[in-house]
Chain length 273, copies 2
């Protein structure tokens, strides 16, 4: 278990020590955040149902939020938006800067402004980090954007393979997902924590993508170790859902809860190594 205690002034530190973790550092930093909203294109249920084509361009998406995650039309890999640039992580693991003309069927973005910044965070697992962040949140009922920079002694990610119609459900496609494991990679985790009550609309709880600092590694995150990370949280009490008003979305039965499917699609673990 790592211990890198620099500063015991925050409540995080006290909580962290109590559970044997380290989550300590600088006091909360308030920043201007006029939007305070997560903007979402389509729904996770629609994506799970195989709706892999949307009309929203990456250019439009980045106007709505310069920070976020999603996928690209034809389910052509994982998407990470960071500092106003959108990146595609293909199923081979290569990373491309997405042109503004590329389109997305499902994405979540915000204009990230950290409400809290905590440095010197180390955890052995993704779940430990999520529990640690949870303890510092003002409520489980709001939306949060999370941005975590640091060194990751291990990082497990996946990407998905470009699909062609007729599309299979995402639960089928992810059985063929590409898994990647990186060691001692430095970069940024980009993602959101959504409240339980929007399960099916978005992914309840955490959904994180990764992009290395050199923009050569990334994907949908399955697990990691974090060393000396800086955790930033942006509280988003507002949520804006932009739905497709044409195409397959209109005719698909989205009334199923899909809880098991969402879990299968989002949380599938990399094989033990």
């Amino acid at each position: 278990m790592k211990q890198q205690v620099r500063d015991l002034t925050t409540v995080y530190a006290t909580l962290s020590l109590a559970v044997g973790l380290c989550f300590c550092g600088t006091p909360a930093v308030a920043a201007e955040d006029p939007n305070q909203e997560l903007v979402q294109i389509s729904t996770i249920n629609a994506l799970i149902s195989g709706i892999y084509e949307g009309d929203t361009t990456i250019g439009e998406l980045l106007e709505l939020g310069s920070f976020g995650i999603g996928t690209i039309n034809n389910l052509d890999g994982e998407m990470v938006a960071l500092d106003g640039q959108a990146y595609q992580v293909t199923s081979t693991g290569s990373i491309n800067v997405l042109p503004k003309s590329a389109k997305t069927p499902f994405a979540s973005v915000t204009h990230f402004h950290a409400d809290t910044t905590t440095a010197g965070v180390s955890t052995d697992t993704m779940e430990e980090l999520q529990e640690l962040i949870d303890r510092g949140l003002p409520s489980e009922n709001l939306f949060y954007a999370v941005r975590i920079t640091g060194t990751f002694p291990s990082m497990k990610v996946r990407s998905v393979t470009r699909q062609e119609p007729p599309y299979r459900r995402l639960t089928e496609v992810v059985k063929e997902q590409s898994l990647f494991s990186f060691s001692n990679t430095s970069g940024t985790l980009v993602g959101f924590r959504c409240p339980e009550y929007v399960q099916g609309v978005n992914v309840a709880n955490y959904h994180l993508h990764y992009l290395s600092a050199d923009k050569k590694q990334g994907g949908h995150v399955l697990g990691f170790e974090l060393e000396d990370g800086t955790v930033q949280v942006d509280t988003l009490p507002n949520f804006r859902l932009l739905l497709p008003d044409s195409g397959a979305f209109m005719k698909t039965d989205l009334s199923e809860k899909n809880e098991d499917a969402i879990h299968a699609v989002e949380k599938l673990r990399a094989p033990t190594q």
Copy 2:
């Protein structure tokens, strides 16, 4: 069964005749609708949990949308917003114009711009009308605002009694609701149809309030007969959720689905007369 067929040119008319209803009239009218969004304050799950106080003023709400439904702080009756004015239907049945300083813990509004207008609609029940509207919708997966003006040979509504803390759950409070039956009343049904997948966030399917033309009758709608109504539907592919970021909302467990509670609270029938 009423039959007031004026015009057989629309698909609605054909569908209506097929089921013995009348839903016919003018062709669809497109209108400018730059927002195309339902804006919602808090969630129905929060209201059901007894969160009856919010910080949003009626003045702020009407800026977000001049048409809609909800309630007032302390659950002090049913709220109807129509043409930029918000009305309170108290538990005694009296109707007050709400001052802009009044606050709401839960509301749904839009700036209504009809995408379709259909005149000459008569149905024997609320459910028949809803089924009829459903058949004309482009998708079950979008949000819709509905505005129905006409004469109602019968109209059954309810209102709720002002509450004081500590608040009981809405399922308890509605057991003491006030029921009102009106005959041959003319006025406007105001409400929304939300997709099944937001059950718990809002009310899945229809949620309608009523306000008579003379502003003397109204409430949360439980049932009606409609005669020679004009049905307007505004398709809303966008949904904006504005959550409280202080107070009881922050600490309440909102993870329950509450499907039965929502049904009990929204659909409770007036006693057979």
